[in-house]
């Protein structure tokens, strides 16, 4: 029997007391020691590894780190610890799928994938947590993203001002009201796009605003992901766990964990970070809200996520290396579907050649590494001052690249990425463009990309075709 969410929460209240900083430093010490023991080294020229032994040792080190470290709870300052047997109970119970996403003809199943598998991963596109100038723009972008047949789910964002006047602010009525309105707009948009059952992904800053979005008709359904137990570097807080508490009562079907590491943070560099990602992807299962009965019915899944601490990108080569390796480790050693949640948000902004290169590099690497889904949507990091950033064409690129690279083995995928990497290698830290807004990239009236942008898309697509990526028809 797997340990329930409630038992795990109990441990966050009864486990050993430890200050957060001490836990963070201890995390570093343990993963640093493990990486020395296994002699893990990062070779930046490798882009992502193709080495089964390394993947299996990463799994072993991740499991050891999970048992030794546990999950730190920010609210209670206690550590919830879990034994090897308890972790392995999840591995035994997993049915190899997560069938909780989407409804009717638009429903999708997230299946365990091996490295180089033919099975197509699930794609959640849309501009993740974008800030919009107004509801019409939000609606239009959602609808056009949903119209892309290569996508299976869509991310939602938020308008900057309620009724075009009042700034939406966290922990205030405006947040609760506007997120609730936003999810209704998203629902309408996907319906109008002709895909009413595709899953939608929205997560408000506060638990109360997130919970307020739940509504089987117009809001977040039981077939949409909801709830998030664990975040960043093996830590949890109740504001996040509260969502899972609700998801269990509501009957949310997809229950998932997530492992995260900061490259440059307490997880160290790309040599050590995969250990933390694997440990987190396993430990977070205890906070997914899935019990035996739920797993038997709908399955369970987890995620690999990483962010660079100073470079505003999740597609930086160091992140691609760490996430790909963690994905390979998990894919090879258990049958829990594991999605990629890194490698996707380039340093260059939408509408640029470099954006397409970076996004494709990260996504191809994740698909070949055994990702069951790629769920982070499209986005340019930060630039909070720019509204309506990006366009639906990046979602199309994301979907087409991901679905078309299933079947590539690690070596083939690496060859493609190695060809494109030099094209932007020198523009990862400076010299990249911040990118463009929806209005700059699209003919909004006609709902199509501007000719220059479409031309750029076609040109890049051709380049990838020449490199051996066979694009599927959608």
């Amino acid at each position: 029997m797997v340990l329930t969410f409630w038992e795990a929460i109990e441990r966050t209240k009864t486990g050993p007391h430890m200050d957060e900083t001490e836990f963070n430093l201890n995390l570093w010490k343990i993963v640093d020691a493990l990486s020395k023991e296994y002699d893990f080294k990062y070779d930046p020229d490798m882009i992502f590894p193709n080495d089964n032994q390394l993947a299996d040792e990463t799994w072993e080190a991740g499991l050891r780190a999970a048992i030794e470290l546990g999950i730190h709870c920010k609210d209670t300052k206690r550590i919830a610890k879990f034994s090897e047997e308890e972790i392995k109970e999840f591995l035994k119970t997993s049915t190899g799928k997560d069938t909780g996403l989407g409804e009717g003809g638009d429903a999708v199943k997230m299946l365990h994938r091996s490295t180089g598998d033919d099975i197509e991963p699930i794609v959640c596109a849309g501009i993740q947590t974008a800030i919009w100038s107004d509801e019409q723009i939000a609606y239009k972008i959602y609808k056009l993203c949903a119209k892309e047949p290569s996508t299976d789910g869509i991310w939602g964002g938020i308008v900057e001002k309620l009724a075009d006047k009042f700034q939406v602010k966290i922990n205030e009525p405006s947040e609760v009201y506007q997120y609730r309105k936003e999810v209704e707009i998203l629902r309408k948009a996907i319906k109008d796009a002709g895909r009413p059952g595709i899953f939608i992904s929205m997560n408000a800053p506060s638990a109360v605003a997130t919970v307020a979005m739940a509504d089987p008709q117009n809001g977040i359904r039981r077939t949409d992901p909801l709830g998030m137990g664990v975040y960043e570097e093996l830590k949890i807080n109740y504001e996040y766990a509260n969502r899972t508490g609700f998801a269990i009562a509501y009957g949310t079907k997809s229950r998932f964990g997530e492992g995260h590491a900061y490259i440059g943070g307490f997880s160290g560099g790309p040599a050590t970070a995969p250990i933390v990602i694997v440990a987190g992807a396993l430990l977070s299962l205890f906070f997914s809200g899935a019990d035996d009965e739920h797993i038997a019915k709908y399955g369970i899944s987890t995620k690999c996520n990483s962010t660079h601490i100073s470079i505003k990108s999740r597609a930086h080569p160091s992140v691609i290396y760490a996430v790909s390796l963690a994905l390979q480790a998990i894919s090879r050693n258990c049958n829990i579907p594991c999605s990629g949640y890194g490698c996707d948000h380039p340093v260059a902004g939408p509408g640029t050649e470099q954006y397409f290169y970076e996004s494709a590099a990260g996504n191809i690497a994740q698909v070949a590494s055994g990702a069951s889904g790629i769920l982070g949507g499209t986005r340019k990091f930060v630039v909070g001052e720019t509204l309506n950033f990006g366009s639906p064409l990046e979602s199309k690129w994301m979907g087409e690249v991901i679905k078309s690279s299933s079947g590539l083995n690690l070596r083939q995928a690496n060859e493609i990425v190695k060809e494109i990497y030099p094209k932007y290698k020198d523009k990862l830290e400076k010299g990249y463009s911040n990118g463009f807004t929806f209005k700059q990239l699209y003919d909004i009236e006609r709902e199509i990309p501007k000719p220059e942008y479409q031309k750029l898309y076609d040109k890049i697509k051709e380049e990838f075709e020449e490199l051996g990526l066979r694009f599927k028809k959608f």
Binding site: T21, E160, K169, I170, P205, G264, S267, G269, G384, E385
Partner: protein, 215 residues
């Protein structure tokens, strides 16, 4: 010769993130009657070296934190050997720092706090999700020179404006300088809301803090 050795040991202790040996060296410097200001200067040099390596991606956050802890432990001891006025001169200023209410992003704020400490400021970190009132109360309590506030999201940016307005309302606008930063913040926004300073990253935050205090 002796002088150099103890100071070098202190530098080395910081570069090795060794709190115990940093404390030991600091005590030795005091016992030997060595110029403590020179020792603090050397320690600062060591921590800057770590900071630079961190920014280049050669070292990681735990190194920055551990070296910062070693530095702080040594400074506490060394300060005993410094006259009150000299100590005041060495302290570049008291700073209250935190991430604003509603926002739990703390990594950037933590980096900034560590950099400020290592540059000789006394820093009180209130953590994340900090209400405006707490910033102000703590600033009053410790007689702060600067309130440093971090905000990563568009949805929490207004809180910075409210913080400045609240200080004005309480007639504290001149007493505490306000420095802001975080992913969603720009220099333009800082100007617009009347903040005294804005910093893009840790090193810039330290420079800005020095500048606004005229240090």
């Amino acid at each position: 010769m002796l002088v150099e050795k103890s100071i070098k040991d202190l530098e080395q202790a910081i570069l090795n993130y060794n709190i115990e040996s940093a404390k030991y060296s600091a005590k030795k410097i005091l016992d030997e009657g060595i110029d403590t200001a020179a020792a603090i200067k050397a320690a600062t040099k060591a921590i800057r070296e770590i900071g630079e390596k961190f920014h280049k991606g050669i070292l990681f956050l735990p190194h920055l934190v551990m070296a910062g802890d070693a530095m702080m432990a040594a400074s506490k001891i060394l300060e005993e050997g410094i006259s009150k006025e000299k100590r005041e001169r060495l302290n570049k200023g008291n700073i209250v720092i935190g991430t604003v209410q509603g926002d739990i992003h703390n990594i950037g704020k933590n980096i900034v706090a560590t950099m400020l400490k290592s540059e000789g400021f006394v820093v009180y970190d209130l953590g994340e999700d900090v209400p405006i009132e707490r910033f102000i109360e703590k600033a009053k309590e410790i007689d702060a020179d600067i309130i440093a506030a971090s905000s990563l999201m568009t949805m929490t940016m207004p809180v910075l404006k409210e913080l400045i307005e609240e200080l004005e309302r309480k007639d504290l606008g001149n007493k505490f300088k306000v420095m802001i930063g975080g992913g969603s913040i720009t220099q333009e926004w800082a100007n617009e809301i009347g903040a005294d300073g804005y910093g893009r990253d840790g090193p810039e935050a330290a420079e800005v803090a020095k500048r606004i205090l005229g240090a």
